[in-house]
Symmetry: C2
Subunit: 408 residues, 2 copies
Amino acid sequence: MFKINENYLKLPGSYLFSTIGKKVNAYCAANPEKKVIRLGIGDVTQPLAPAIVEAMHMAVDEMGKAETFRGYAPDLGYEFLRETIAENDYRARGCDISADEIFVSDGAKCDCGNIQEIFSLENRIAVCDPVYPVYVDSNVMAGRTGTYDRDRETWSDVIYMPCTAENEFVPALPREGEKPDLIYLCFPNNPTGAVVTKVQLQEWVDYANRTGSVILYDAAYEAYITEEDIPHSIYECEGARACAIEFRSFSKNAGFTGVRLGFTVIPKELKCGEVSLHSLWARRHGTKYNGAPYIIQRAGEAVYSEAGKAQLKAQIAYYQRNAAYIFDGLKDMGYTVSGGVNSPYIWLKTPGGMTSWEFFDCLLEQVNVVGTPGSGFGPSGEGYFRLTAFGSYENTVEAVDRMKTIPL
Amino acid sequence: MFKINENYLKLPGSYLFSTIGKKVNAYCAANPEKKVIRLGIGDVTQPLAPAIVEAMHMAVDEMGKAETFRGYAPDLGYEFLRETIAENDYRARGCDISADEIFVSDGAKCDCGNIQEIFSLENRIAVCDPVYPVYVDSNVMAGRTGTYDRDRETWSDVIYMPCTAENEFVPALPREGEKPDLIYLCFPNNPTGAVVTKVQLQEWVDYANRTGSVILYDAAYEAYITEEDIPHSIYECEGARACAIEFRSFSKNAGFTGVRLGFTVIPKELKCGEVSLHSLWARRHGTKYNGAPYIIQRAGEAVYSEAGKAQLKAQIAYYQRNAAYIFDGLKDMGYTVSGGVNSPYIWLKTPGGMTSWEFFDCLLEQVNVVGTPGSGFGPSGEGYFRLTAFGSYENTVEAVDRMKTIPL
């Protein structure tokens, strides 16, 4: 008789955003007349930029002609895209990353979830608290997290690095005795919107090289950085090539949440003894993945074209204006808010000591605004709430105005 | 200090098709003047059908307009595609499969490689020999296969079901004492092109229900079935809903190798105690995957449109003509051949007792034709060779004619 992977049964509840989706759908079904504004799931709303649409039309036509039809893509992604990424995202910032250290994929969520496969089950992970659920859940499924404490909502074998108002939502280095092997970091942070300076990130790189740990660096939101001295890539730090894997997404900088494209960078120096992690990830790609669609990879290339860059700069500015409107609006109402400046996410303290889910229900039912409960991201997220800047400007303004009717 | 997943190091050599790719690229680099004909990797060559191209252009335009832009897709895939699949591939064949039992993905290779994650590491797998390498390699990576015997080229904890000329390349049920938990079956078969009748497949379904094992059924090539009484889906068999997961691909029936679309069917009856595998796979999708691109799912929908069906029927007929040409041509030359009739693959015995790789080199160097060594699919594949019908008709004819110059 076959058996299942029992680790799946340890997962408490369903994936956060599936839960939110179900709650919202139920509310909408019960209240069809209500206009619900979604600032919950970090999903974009602006259409694809013209340069990207044009590139996709061209690629579709190529696929429709025998002379230009493309079958299976190269395992690591097309050279034209990997070269463009290496040049624009890395060499242009002084980062020493070559095209063949870039693995094109169908998104950072998949890569963040799959990367743990190439590591030993004995490795101990460290995550920020609050944290993007995929990092932890994918390790739960693999059996790397020990037992779950339902009261504390923590896993026995996971090292949690609290990100609170006290440390401005930037985690301290692991304490004496804590020995993480894999350290998940995400800056600009999801969900708090916090960022680290280059000096702060350098401390993490030095720590990882000192202790022989790997930093799994999620830079999905780097396009929203507005301030100087905030690193866009971990490879801006000395020694990162020996200890860091970086995940990038096209979802938030180019609106590809429904297009699906991302990439992972694994420098060839990153080794465990003689074994390079690059070769392991390449083997995984070759065995369990078949490349991102040609049409989508051409869309990704267009993101870096002159026209694409200009159009996306405007698109990001549009969302940044939303972020500023939410940030300032909530502040004026007396909310305690952070994030928003170098990030599309605004992180706010729930008013009147409400729990995160109480505030979720309050917003949904009283003003029909959907956000994300901070507690869904981890225990230190309790009492906090995330709003995203990815709505339309009109909806964003309306959502903030509606929130003014909620007494603090 | 972090550790890697040591199971990866057990994998002998690289993924079969990566190895072939490297060998061919090296030959081409050394012999730029030679025109190499590729009948190795099962990659299609015909352009996308007009109905599909049209659907993709429409979807691209939708993504370029705010009113019709789509962000994150539903976890399981868009309703419009899942409903179309349920109707055309299942209900139309009398199979009781509903839309919400269908999980849309970026391809059958990924699903075949990932499905083992929801099962216990203690489960024992059974595979045909020869077999599509992904089934075994993905289990090696997970640590389910024991130790590798380099002489026999077999894994200690894998049950091999020989598919030889003696049994017409259709495996016998596991022997007494063998107790597989997960049984990988693929019909029409890759690589041999063999098929099973409905009566034969029913025996497997009955066996699985009797022993409490799960059949992982890869039906990626069902579109090539030409004979009556050959099942297109395992759900044509009584009781399959309680024991079988089916994988489908758009790669070979619609030329999507570079478009990337597939789906997996998990009936809700398929349970381990109280736990439905459907819920586990849904959780995996929700946590580690973000849906196939909207544009690609619209392309998939067009596969089932009246125009799409007619155009793809012609496209498949084109490849079937290639298959017949190779099959008949080799037979006339005196080769021992099978497959080809209900499959795009021709399986031939290597002449003069050559090993599979010897024949690979012989074909590549003497007549510049690329095929796939049978031994790359497992020990029982030694002395056999796979040719695919996915080339252009002109190249296929030329390849067969060139092979006439090789003395048997």
